[in-house]
C-alpha cells in the first residue's frame, strides 16, 4: 500500500515539475518542426536537405498503427528480441564468471587479459563475415555477434568492479573469521554487483545496435527468404523497407528499435535496483 502511495506521489511531483513540462514542450516543438519541414518541402524558399526527405510524423504514426496489426512485423520484432536475449544471456553467463576469475586470480589475469585486450577493440560488426563462415547456421552467427557486443563490456565492468572493492572490507571480513569462500560469496559478489548491473545495462544497448546491423549485413537469417516475414528481424525489416522504397516503414522500424532498446535497458535497470537495494537513496 505504501509503495503504491509513494509511486503515485512521485508521479504527481514529476508531472507537476518543471523538467517534465520542459521535456513535453521540447518534444512537441521537435515534432512540429519535423512535420512542417517534411510537408512543406522548402522553408522560405530554401529546401531542407534532411527534414524534407523524411516522411512526416503523422505518416509514420499511421504506418506504425498499420504495423502493430501486421503479424510479420511482430515476427521480426520477436526474432530480434530473441537474438538479443540469447546473445545477452550468453554474455552474462560467460562474462561474469570470467571477469570474477580474472579479478580474483593474478595468474589467470596474467594469462587471459592480454588475449582479451587484443580481441576487445575489434568491433563486433567486423566479426560478421568470420562468424558467418565459422558457425553452421546464420541464426548462430548473428547470435554470436550479438554476444560479442555485450560480452566485452560486461567483463570489463566485472573486473573493474571487483578490483575496486575496498581492501578494508577484506581485512574486516578476515579478522572476523571469514573463509575464502565466505569472502567470495559475501564480499566480492555483492561488492561487484553494482558494476555487473552497469555492465549489463550498457551491454544490452550495444546488443541492440549490433543485432540490427548484423541482420542487415547477413541478409536476415534463414537463407532463401525474401522479405521480413520468414526470418528477418527488425534490422532486415528496415533494410527490406529501404529496398522496397517504403520510407515511412523505415522510420517506423527505427522508432520501434529505439523503443525496444529503451525498454530492455529500463527493465534491466529495474532488476538492478531491486538487486542492489543499498544503493537506493534515503
Amino acid at each position: 500500500m505504501n509503495a503504491i502511495k509513494g509511486f503515485v506521489l512521485k508521479t504527481i511531483s514529476f508531472v507537476t515539475g518543471e523538467d517534465f513540462w520542459r521535456g513535453i514542450v521540447a518534444i512537441i516543438v521537435f515534432l512540429l518542426f519535423w512535420e512542417t519541414g517534411s510537408r512543406s518541402q522548402s522553408w522560405f524558399g530554401v529546401a531542407f536537405p534532411w527534414v524534407s526527405q523524411v516522411p512526416a510524423p503523422t505518416a509514420v504514426l499511421q504506418e506504425m498503427y498499420r504495423l502493430i496489426q501486421d503479424p510479420s512485423f511482430w515476427h521480426s520484432a520477436y526474432l530480434s528480441t530473441l537474438r538479443v536475449t540469447e546473445g545477452f544471456l550468453a554474455a552474462m553467463v560467460i562474462g561474469i564468471p570470467l571477469g570474477l576469475a580474472m579479478a580474483v586470480s593474478k595468474t589467470f589475469y596474467g594469462i587471459s587479459f592480454p588475449v582479451f585486450e587484443v580481441l576487445r577493440p575489434i568491433p563486433p560488426l567486423a566479426w560478421v563475415p568470420a562468424a558467418i563462415i565459422f558457425w553452421p547456421t546464420q541464426e548462430l552467427s548473428i547470435a554470436f555477434v550479438t554476444f560479442l557486443g555485450a560480452f566485452f563490456t560486461i567483463v570489463i565492468n566485472v573486473i573493474g568492479g571487483a578490483q575496486a572493492i575496498d581492501v578494508r572490507y577484506f581485512q574486516a571480513a578476515r579478522s572476523m573469521g571469514s573463509s575464502t569462500w565466505d569472502i567470495f560469496r559475501r564480499i566480492i559478489l555483492p561488492g561487484t554487483l553494482p558494476s555487473i548491473v552497469v555492465g549489463a545495462t550498457v551491454g544490452i544497448g550495444i546488443t541492440w545496435a549490433v543485432v540490427v546491423a548484423a541482420e542487415m549485413i547477413s541478409g536476415g537469417g534463414s537463407a532463401g527468404s525474401v522479405g521480413g516475414a520468414a526470418g528477418g528481424g527488425l534490422g532486415f525489416f528496415i533494410w527490406n523497407s529501404y529496398v522496397g522504397g517504403s520510407y515511412t516503414q523505415i522510420v517506423a522500424g527505427m522508432i520501434s528499435i529505439g523503443m525496444a532498446g529503451y525498454l530492455s535497458s529500463a527493465i534491466l535497470r529495474k532488476i538492478g535496483e531491486w538487486m542492489t537495494p543499498w544503493l537506493a537513496e534515503g
Binding site: 575496498d166 578494508r168 572490507y169 581485512q171 574486516a172 571480513a173 578476515r174 579478522s175 572476523m176 573469521g177 571469514s178 573463509s179 565466505d182 559475501r186 564480499i187 555483492p190 561488492g191 554487483l193 542492489t276 537495494p277 543499498w278 544503493l279 534515503g282
Partner: protein
C-alpha cells in the same frame, strides 16, 4: 540518557575482566632499506593489562598507527617482540579485532546483517547469537535501524554499528584507532558515552588510540603518552577515576584536571621537539597549549 545510566549501574555490579594480556618488548620498526631506513618506533615497551582499557596518546604523525598495525599483526616489527598471553604475534588473528578510523561496514548489508557477519562467518547463527545481536543493537541505540543500510545511517550511527559488529565476536583484544575522529563535538561525546557503557558491560582488553586528551581521561584505565617520532613510551599515567564515569563529572574533577595538566605538559614538550624538527602540526598544538596555560 536515563536508560544509559541504568545500564551502566547494572554493569557495575558485575565487573568481568576478560581478554588477553599484551606485552610489547623493545619493539622497533623501520621503513625503507639500509641507509635510507626511517625509524618510526624506537625501543618501545609497554603492557596492556587484561580486561583494562589502555589509551595511547601522542603527537600526530608520531607512529601510533604503526604500533596499531604491529599489535594487530598486519606488520612485523624490525626488532623486539609482541606477545599476547605470552604467545608471539606472527600475523592477524581472530582474537584481535581492529576498528579503524573510517567505517568499514559492508555497504550491501543491513545493520543487523553487518552485526551478524562474524557469527555467520563462523557458522554460529544460533539463537544465542541472535539474542546477543539484539542486546547489542539496543545498547548502541540502533534497534529501530536494524534494517537500514550503512548509507542510510548517520556518521555516529555507523561508528556505533561498527562497535557492535566487533563486540559480538567477543574478541580477546579490541584495538581502536581513533574511532571517533571526524565526528562533530556533540556526536563525539555521545559516542564516548555509548562506548564507555559497552566497555563497562563487557570489559575486554582494549587498546585505544586517540589524539584527544579529554577522551583519553574519560575512557582510560591507563594512559600511555608517546614521544615524538621515532616513538616510544614517554610516560604512563594511571587513571583511577571510578566507573561508570559521567563526562560532566570527569571534566570537573580535580584528579582529572591534574592528569590533564600533567599529560598536556608532557605532550607540549614532545610537540616542542617535533616543532624544532620542522613539524607544522606541532606548531598548532603549541599555540593552543600556550593560550590555555596562559589563561589559567
Amino acid at each position: 540518557m536515563q536508560q544509559m545510566t541504568q545500564l551502566s549501574s547494572l554493569a557495575a555490579s558485575k565487573p568481568l575482566s576478560v581478554g588477553s594480556e599484551i606485552k610489547v618488548n623493545n619493539v622497533s620498526k623501520s621503513y625503507g632499506a639500509d641507509n635510507f631506513a626511517k625509524e618510526v618506533v624506537h625501543n618501545c615497551s609497554f603492557t596492556i593489562d587484561r580486561g583494562k582499557l589502555t589509551v595511547m596518546i601522542g603527537p600526530s604523525g608520531c607512529g601510533k598507527s604503526t604500533l596499531i598495525r604491529l599489535v594487530a599483526g598486519f606488520e612485523r616489527p624490525t626488532s623486539g617482540t609482541i606477545t599476547i598471553d605470552d604467545k608471539p604475534v606472527t600475523g592477524p588473528g581472530v582474537d584481535r579485532l581492529v576498528v579503524f578510523q573510517e567505517t568499514a561496514l559492508f555497504p550491501w548489508m543491513t545493520t543487523y546483517d553487518n552485526i551478524m557477519y562474524g557469527p555467520r562467518a563462523r557458522n554460529e547463527d544460533t539463537a544465542e547469537m541472535r539474542g546477543f545481536a539484539e542486546t547489542l543493537l539496543q545498547k548502541v541505540g540502533l534497534s529501530a535501524f536494524r534494517k537500514k543500510y550503512p548509507s542510510q545511517l548517520s556518521g555516529g550511527m555507523q561508528r556505533r554499528a561498527e562497535l557492535a559488529r566487533s563486540m559480538i565476536n567477543k574478541p580477546n583484544v579490541m584495538i581502536l584507532d581513533e574511532p571517533f575522529r571526524g565526528l562533530d563535538a556533540m556526536t563525539k561525546k555521545l559516542m564516548q558515552e555509548y562506548y564507555a557503557n559497552l566497555y563497562n558491560e563487557f570489559r575486554r582488553t582494549t587498546f585505544f588510540v586517540t589524539t584527544d586528551i579529554d577522551e583519553a581521561i574519560y575512557l582510560a584505565d591507563r594512559i600511555l603518552i608517546m614521544t615524538n617520532i621515532p616513538t616510544r613510551v614517554r610516560a604512563v599515567i594511571d587513571v583511577n577515576l571510578p566507573r561508570p564515569r559521567q563526562v560532566e563529572n570527569v571534566v570537573e574533577s580535580d584528579e582529572a584536571n591534574a592528569i590533564k595538566m600533567q599529560a598536556l605538559g608532557l605532550l607540549h614538550e614532545e610537540a616542542m621537539k617535533s616543532f624544532a624538527r620542522g613539524s607544522k602540526a606541532a606548531a598548532d598544538f603549541i599555540d593552543a597549549y600556550s593560550k590555555r596555560v596562559g589563561k589559567q
